[in-house]
Structures are given as structure tokens and as C-alpha cells.
């Protein structure tokens, strides 16, 4: 019969429409921003820097591996120098990530040998300044290990176990001194 297929399609639509009043499974959207979907643990957005305890005690040693490996080249690092001797110390003086360039690929977090850079889960980052408004400097990027535990609990536990093991191997040494020397700049 001509029109049978059309009617059948309309029946499907009607069934979905009516059932959406009775079956909560059929409501597929949420009322953002009042309601929010819980992000899966693995979910990632932008990178941030992890510190242990106080913000001065950051894990990054300015080895610049992430800067080299970053595919869109959105990371900029300068090594801090000792004001008296002028020699480089193992900390970044400048650590900038341009979130407008970053493509959230998490290769920086993957290649970091010190577990210093990890992926955040923030997503409401819209701004009005397109020139440098998304440029995050070191203080904006620093977040505590506790925060890291909050967003990626399983991964953070693994990292902590791994770090404490490498600290045990070198008695008396901290995680900061287990890595290779930073390249000369």
C-alpha cells in the first residue's frame, strides 16, 4: 500500500515521543548548566602542572621534553637561574601553555618522565580576549596533587606509587633529583 512506509515512520516517531514521558531512559539530554553529566575518569581537557604540598614544590624540572614533543607547539618554558651564580636550577621560571593552540592530545602528559604535567577536566574556559586571553602562565597552571587525585583517582594512585618507589631507590633523594639534568640553555 502506498504510504505504508511513511505511516510506519510516523508511528516510530510517535512511540518515541509518548514513551519519553514515561521512560527516563528515553530522555537523552540534560538541562545544562543546571544539570551536568558526570565526566568519566579518563576524560581530559587541558594540561596542568602538579605540585606536592606547596605550590613552590612543583614536580616540573624544566627539562623541556614536553615543549619538544608538543605537536602544535603550544608550550613555552624558560629555566630558572640562580640569581647569585647564574647557573640553571631545576625549576621553570616561565611555563606558558596557550590553551587556544593546545589540542588536548595529552602527549605532554605521556612523555613527561617526572609525572609533572597532567590533563585537567575543566571545560568552561570561554573568554573575550582572543589575543593572549587563553595564554595560561605558571601560576594559573599550577594545581595540587590532591586536585589531581580528585579528578583522576586511579591514575593518581598509580603515579604516587611509582614516584614513592623511585624515591626509595635513591635514599635521601627527592623525586626532583631523580631525573636527568636539564639541557643547557
Amino acid at each position: 500500500m502506498f504510504g505504508h512506509g511513511l505511516l510506519q515512520g510516523l508511528i516510530v516517531t510517535a512511540r518515541n515521543f509518548i514513551r519519553s514521558y514515561f521512560d527516563p531512559e528515553r530522555l537523552t539530554t540534560v538541562q545544562y548548566p543546571e544539570e551536568r553529566v558526570k565526566l568519566p575518569e579518563n576524560s581530559r581537557s587541558f594540561p596542568f602542572l602538579v605540585y606536592d604540598g606547596a605550590p613552590d614544590n612543583l614536580r616540573c624540572v624544566a627539562c623541556k621534553i614536553c615543549e619538544q614533543e608538543c605537536p602544535p607547539q603550544c608550550i613555552y618554558i624558560e629555566v630558572e637561574r640562580d640569581p647569585k651564580t647564574g647557573k640553571p636550577v631545576r625549576r621553570p621560571r616561565v611555563f606558558d601553555i596557550d590553551y587556544s593552540v593546545c589540542m588536548q592530545c595529552q602527549i605532554c602528559a605521556e612523555v613527561c618522565p617526572f609525572d609533572a604535567i597532567k590533563m585537567d577536566q575543566v571545560y568552561e574556559l570561554a573568554g573575550t580576549n582572543r589575543f593572549g586571553g587563553m595564554l595560561h602562565n605558571k601560576s594559573a597552571l599550577l594545581k595540587s596533587n590532591e586536585y589531581y587525585h580528585q579528578i583522576h583517582p586511579t591514575e593518581a594512585d598509580e603515579v604516587d606509587a611509582h614516584l614513592s618507589q623511585s624515591r626509595k631507590k635513591m635514599p635521601g633523594a627527592t623525586a626532583l633529583s631523580t631525573g636527568p639534568k636539564p639541557p643547557n640553555v
Binding site: 502506498f2 504510504g3 505504508h4 512506509g5 511513511l6 510506519q8 515512520g9 508511528i11 516510530v12 516517531t13 537523552t28 565526566l39 568519566p40 575518569e41 579518563n42 576524560s43 581530559r44 621534553i65 614533543e69 605537536p71 589540542m103 588536548q104 592530545c105 595529552q106 602527549i107 605521556e110 612523555v111 590533563m119
Partner: protein, 386 residues
């Protein structure tokens, strides 16, 4: 000579007689922002009335130097960029690139990773084909209804991708020799649930659109692609199979572990838009079969081959790796000099090559059919332009 129209006397005519008016063809530049063009794509069409007499696809608006970028970057750095080729099927793109590099470097892929890859690639195929059905109907004028049905299911699969890889679309999940992160039992259970519910969704989608008389009228015997032309123009994927050519790289190459699964390759007979639509529908049912087998058989074990990603080097030589992406044969031709970056990196993008015969399919059809034919080619401009 134009006859004057008069409203008096017996010579009254509403329309002038055939040949009484001088006519000419009309050249229309459709795009680059026509809503049905799936992105920034332009068609220069020459119309005789409503009939297409010439058609020239114009692309390049989304060109972003993908191949040159990859040649400036180390081997690992290209993987997130392959996500952005065909942004609907990032998992397949990852796999194609990793497959090419693995062939060149002679890396053996971990057993569990092979299964995870098959699962991800087939889930991608489900996303792509069900959304294609929606987009095709949007092109035909059905607006969003079928598309939103497809997007509802796509959402569930994207949630799976997010739980496994961290991102919904730009997954960046596969690595040389394996995958980046393992999937746990909860994930597998969730995937089994999604896959188990998928046939019911396909039934619903088919009840919604397949029998629809308007769809049949708009797609049957429209844009016929003859078998010979399809082969000569090196068309691949569901488009080629809709023309009746039994060529599926999963069967021909049996890359990965596709030789372990029992599935069939659906073929079309006429090669029109309807066949292209329906072949994809049938392919999804085969994908569900593969998924069920893979999710059942997935072994325990390491999920990567322990390849060090930093300073990863590939021995000198050249190689071509290809897989059956949802849109067709996706291949990467790579030349290595033995260093940390490729010397030459070329993408054989299926939607780019499938687009080259658009004119042949559209000639003689109405301009509204040209949109439907374009929709049935299944292009993603990120892959066409690169």
C-alpha cells in the same frame, strides 16, 4: 523571435511555446557554505533548467597542510593530527596510521590491543554509517529527525570512547604496537550493552526511513555509479560495494585479526543512492556481529608492545599501510630515512577519491538530486582537503 503575449483573442497562452524563447544555461556556484555540503565544499554546477549539465567539485577551503606538518613532526606527533582528518572516525584514522608505521618498523601488535582496535574501529563504523543515514536524509529534506535518532545512539558510543581514551571525538588512542590505555571490565560490559542494544536501534531506524516512499522516490535510480566506472575511478568502501564489486579490505588484506571473525560483505546491485544507503545499513549489522565476537573473545594480556614513544625511530624504507575505514580505503604512504620524523607522509583519503566521480553521477539529474548524491558519497571535508 519572441511572440508577444496577449490576453485578448484566441492566441492567449500562459507559457510561450517550446523554442519560442531563447534559453541559456545557468551557472550556479553552490557553496562553500551551502547547508548540505557537509562543510566548506563548493560545487560549480551548470544547469539547464533544473537539470545538471556540468558539475565541478571545488575543494581546498579546509586545506591545512596536514602532510607537510607531519613531515616536520616526530612519528608520535602525527597521531593526534590524524584524528582531525576524518573527524567522525578518529579511531580508524589512528589505526591506519599506526598500521602503516608498524608495517614499516616491523612492530608486532599486542594481542589484546588487536581486539581493542577492532572493537574501536567497528564502533566507529557504526557511528559513521548511522549518522550518514541521517545526513543523507537531511540532504533529501528530512531535516533533523533521522539524524537525531542516529546522534542519540552515537552519543552512547562516544561515551564509550571518552571512557577509554579520554576524548569523545579526537581520541588519539592508538599507539605503535598497541593502544594508549587499557580498557577495564566495566568498559567491556558497557560496550557489550551498547552493542547488544544496537540491532534494536537499527530496526527502529529502518522502520523510520527505509520503507519511506519519499525516500524511495528520491533515491532509487538516482546517481547510478556503474561497476566499471567505480573500479576505474578507484572508488572504495561502501560506494564500491553498492555498485556490486566485492572488495572489502578487511576480507582482501585480512589486516589485524579480521581473519578470526565471521562476517559477510553486503553488496548492492544497481549502484544508485538507495543501494549506497542500504549497503551501509547492512554493513552495520555485520559490524555488530564482529563486535559481539570480539567482545566475547578479547583475551587478557598487555595492551601495548612496549614500544618507547619518545625518540621513536623507524628504519629507512617506504611502506604503505591501509585499512578499511568506514568511508573506504584509508592508506598512509610513508617514507622514512631512519630518523625520528617521516621524510614523506601521504594520506590516501577515501572521501577525496570517492568525490572525483561526482560529476558522472550527477549528470542528467535535477539539482536537488545532486545534493542527495553528494550525501550518499559520504564525505568529510577534513579528509578531502587535509
Amino acid at each position: 523571435m519572441i511572440q508577444p503575449l496577449t490576453t485578448t483573442g484566441s492566441g492567449y497562452e500562459l507559457m510561450p511555446k517550446e523554442g519560442a524563447i531563447e534559453t541559456q544555461t545557468l551557472e550556479v556556484s553552490m557553496g562553500p557554505h551551502h547547508p548540505s555540503t557537509h562543510g566548506v565544499f563548493r560545487m560549480d554546477v551548470v544547469l539547464d533548467g533544473e537539470e545538471v549539465t556540468r558539475l565541478k567539485p571545488v575543494f581546498g577551503y579546509l586545506h591545512r597542510n596536514h602532510e607537510q606538518l607531519a613531515e616536520q613532526m616526530n612519528w608520535l606527533g602525527s597521531i593526534p593530527f590524524t584524528d582531525r582528518l576524518d573527524y567522525f572516525c578518529s579511531m580508524s584514522n589512528n589505526w591506519a596510521y599506526c598500521h602503516a608505521v608498524e608495517q614499516l618498523a616491523g612492530i608486532k601488535v599486542a594481542e589484546r590491543a588487536e581486539y581493542i582496535r577492532v572493537i574501536m574501529a567497528e564502533l566507529t563504523r557504526l557511528i559513521n554509517h548511522s549518522c550518514l543515514a541521517g545526513f543523507l536524509l537531511s540532504d533529501a529534506g528530512a531535516w533533523g529527525t533521522p539524524l537525531l535518532y542516529a546522534f542519540r545512539e552515537r552519543e552512547k558510543i562516544l561515551d564509550l570512547f571518552e571512557a577509554a581514551s579520554g576524548a569523545r571525538m579526537m581520541c588519539n588512542y592508538m599507539r605503535f604496537g598497541g593502544v594508549r590505555a587499557d580498557v577495564d571490565d566495566d568498559w567491556l560490559a558497557a560496550a557489550r550493552k551498547v552493542v547488544g542494544n544496537y540491532p534494536a536501534f537499527l530496526d527502529e531506524l529502518e522502520a523510520l526511513i527505509t520503507g519511506n516512499e519519499i525516500l524511495l522516490a528520491r533515491t532509487q535510480h538516482i546517481g547510478i555509479l556503474p561497476r566499471e566506472l567505480a573500479i576505474n575511478a578507484s572508488i572504495t568502501g561502501p560506494m564500491l560495494r553498492a555498485s556490486g564489486v566485492d572488495y572489502d579490505i578487511r576480507k582482501v588484506d585480512r589486516y589485524g585479526i579480521y581473519d578470526r571473525f565471521d562476517f559477510r560483505v553486503p553488496l548492492g546491485e544497481v549502484g544508485d543512492v538507495y543501494d549506497r544507503y542500504y549497503v551501509r545499513m547492512l554493513e552495520m549489522r555485520e559490524s555488530v556481529k564482529i563486535l559481539q565476537q570480539a567482545l566475547c573473545d578479547i583475551p587478557e594480556g598487555p595492551f601495548d608492545a612496549g614500544v618507547k614513544m619518545r625518540n621513536f625511530k623507524v628504519p629507512a624504507g617506504d611502506g604503505y599501510g591501509r585499512i578499511e575505514a568506514p568511508k573506504g580505503e584509508l592508506g598512509f604512504y610513508l617514507v622514512s630515512e631512519g630518523g625520528t620524523r617521516p621524510y614523506r607522509y601521504h594520506v590516501r583519503a577515501p572521501s577525496f577519491i570517492n568525490l572525483t566521480i561526482l560529476e558522472n553521477m550527477c549528470l542528467g539529474h535535477k539539482v536537488a538530486d545532486a545534493m542527495v548524491i553528494l550525501g550518499s558519497v559520504d564525505i568529510v571535508l577534513g579528509e578531502v582537503d587535509r
